[in-house]
């Protein structure tokens, strides 16, 4: 109660221009330690208001960990995470989170999974259902409303999860390798759909992927993480490809190829480093 009052107060007193300039997410020297393993060390990242930022890094480096910090599900061991300039306490209420693992409720149908958040928000069931149907159609799942998650393929489940998150109309979208389970055609479809949504009302997106091409074709900025332990950003690249983009067409442009080549050179060193470390581990 007190927290929400404070927030309302802040918004009222803040100048609109100042609010606009505030970054959606600011990781300020964030360190995350699990017992004696330091997953993330001294990572500083910002995601601007309305910006689409991709985070690319080798598997197991701590990408999901960073996203959990942004969601407020995980408190950093050191450092601070702030949302629109306010230090985050508890869950990030302005963010929608598309988890890497299956997160649908197995006992609910596709439709009722999609409308779960609206139900929590106490929207009238009829309105929620109508909106839910719209969203299922949008992710290409017309006619699968009454299916349960175990009756859907992995890709279909991912699309239900996408609808479930986006139906809440969050200002910030956190996505953890959302499209890696999809087949190529669906993937391109969903990527374009995501871009359209993002363009329509300028959401701030923090997008995790291990696919560099996907990162470049979607983002305003791509941040490369070092291999773990002690993961932190090692480079970032502004993607100046014109918008609106078609993710499959943009990949054919010379500028894309150039960017890809440039970023890949930087990444390769990191990948090699991680690979060598693993070889050492295996040798021990």
């Amino acid at each position: 109660m007190i927290a929400s009052l404070k927030r309302a107060d802040n918004l009222a007193t803040m100048a609109p221009a100042a609010r606009k300039a505030e970054a959606a997410l600011t990781f300020d020297h964030v360190t995350v330690r699990f017992d004696d393993y330091t997953a993330v060390a001294d990572a500083s990242i910002t995601v601007g208001d309305g910006e689409f930022v991709s985070i690319v890094g080798p598997t197991g480096c701590g990408k999901s960990t960073l996203l959990n910090v942004a969601a407020g599900l995980l408190e950093p061991t050191a450092g601070d995470i702030s949302v629109y300039g306010k230090s985050l306490e508890g869950l990030n209420r302005q963010a929608g989170y598309l988890f890497q693992a299956d997160a649908l409720m197995p006992w609910r149908t596709a439709l009722s999974n999609v409308t779960a958040g609206l139900e929590y928000r106490r929207m009238a069931p009829k309105d929620a259902e109508e909106l839910g149907r719209k969203w299922l159609a949008r992710v290409g799942l017309n006619g699968h409303h009454e299916r349960f998650p175990h009756q859907l393929s992995g890709g279909m489940r991912k699309r239900v999860a996408l609808a479930q998150t986006l139906i809440m109309d969050p200002k910030i979208i956190l996505m953890d390798e959302p499209f890696s389970a999809l087949d190529v055609q669906t993937r391109v479809l969903m990527e374009n759909e995501l871009l359209a949504l993002w363009m329509a009302d300028k959401k701030s997106v923090m997008f995790i992927t291990h696919d560099l091409e996907e990162a470049i074709s979607l983002s305003d900025r791509v941040i490369i993480l070092s291999a773990g332990p002690g993961t932190h950003p090692i480079a970032e690249f502004v993607i100046d490809l014109p918008r609106p983009r078609d993710v499959s067409e943009v990949r054919m442009t010379p500028r894309f190829v150039e960017l890809h080549h440039h970023i890949w050179e930087t990444m390769r060193e990191e990948v090699l480093k991680a690979y060598e470390r693993n070889q050492h581990k295996l040798a021990d």
Binding site: A103, L104, Y120, Q151, L152, Q164, T165
Partner: protein, 277 residues
């Protein structure tokens, strides 16, 4: 997560259920049922022969013909139905109330580790105790009517459900939970839409055992003291040394238990549609 492994159940749902390929050497289903019935007849015939040849004393082992006669009598006079109905009601009530308490207790303790740790030795003790010994006390407390039988059934069902639900609540998928929280669920909404449904799937997995327990509670309760029910029928026959009626009662009890179990299977099929097992 792979497409291949997850698409398997989908195809199983979409196509009509395929029968498993017939195993070599096994006769067809019809033949098997015929053989099973023949086995039953053989058992009765052996029983009959052993008693008629005086290898087994008829006083203790009864006469299968008279046993069947007794069952037919019960059915024709309608005498058995009031007893069946009583046992059925006791079983159903014990089952439902036991489940309700089991779910409530399991969810509560599953969500409050402190209370769970505090009560742990007592729960273990209660569970280890053969709770059937509580029967006489319940009869003293609740009388010879159905209440004492229901209470006994409840104490038996409760622990089966309780342990399952307790486990279920503790093992709720952390991702599903985190997802619901990110979607804005508050504590009571989490309870209603995540913890309880998740626990219910564990209850379903113990449905057969719970019904069995409720049934045992009902019959034992009737044995210990009652004026109605199948247990009472047997008890009464025993007190008049009518061994044929005792066997008849046991047969009725067995058939009843089989029917009960079959109906649980039917209910289960309806409820579990759409739930992963």
């Amino acid at each position: 997560m792979s497409e291949i492994s997850t698409s398997l159940p989908t195809s199983a749902v979409a196509t009509p259920r395929r029968r498993p390929v017939k195993k070599a050497g096994l006769p067809s289903r019809g033949t098997m049922v015929a053989l099973q019935i023949a086995l039953l007849f053989a058992a009765f015939a052996t029983w009959f022969a052993l008693v008629k040849l005086k290898i087994l004393p008829v006083f203790f082992f009864g006469d299968p013909v008279l046993v069947l006669q007794q069952i037919v009598d019960w059915v024709v006079t309608g005498e058995v139905f009031v007893h069946l109905a009583t046992t059925l009601i006791e079983t159903i009530l014990g089952f439902l109330i036991g489940i309700a308490f089991g779910v409530a207790g399991g969810v509560w303790l599953g969500l409050s580790p402190l209370t769970a740790a505090l009560l742990d030795p007592y729960i273990k003790a209660f569970n280890a105790m053969p709770r059937v010994v509580l029967g006489p006390i319940f009869i003293v407390w609740f009388g010879l009517g159905i209440t004492s039988k229901v209470v006994l059934g409840v104490t038996l069902v409760f622990f089966v459900v309780f342990f399952n639900v307790f486990q279920g609540v503790r093992e709720v998928s952390p991702v599903v939970l985190a997802n619901a929280r990110m979607l804005g669920a508050n504590r009571s909404q989490l309870l209603r839409t995540v913890y309880i449904p998740s626990a219910m799937s564990w209850v379903f997995s113990s449905l057969h055992m719970s019904v069995g327990m409720a049934f045992v509670g009902a019959v034992i309760g009737e044995y210990l003291g009652s004026s109605r029910g199948i247990g009472y029928l047997i008890l009464q026959a025993e007190s008049t040394f009518d061994v044929n009626a005792v066997f008849a009662g046991i047969l009725v009890l067995t058939v009843f238990a089989l029917l009960l179990d079959t109906s649980v299977t039917l209910v289960e099929r309806r409820l579990i549609v759409g739930r992963p097992t």
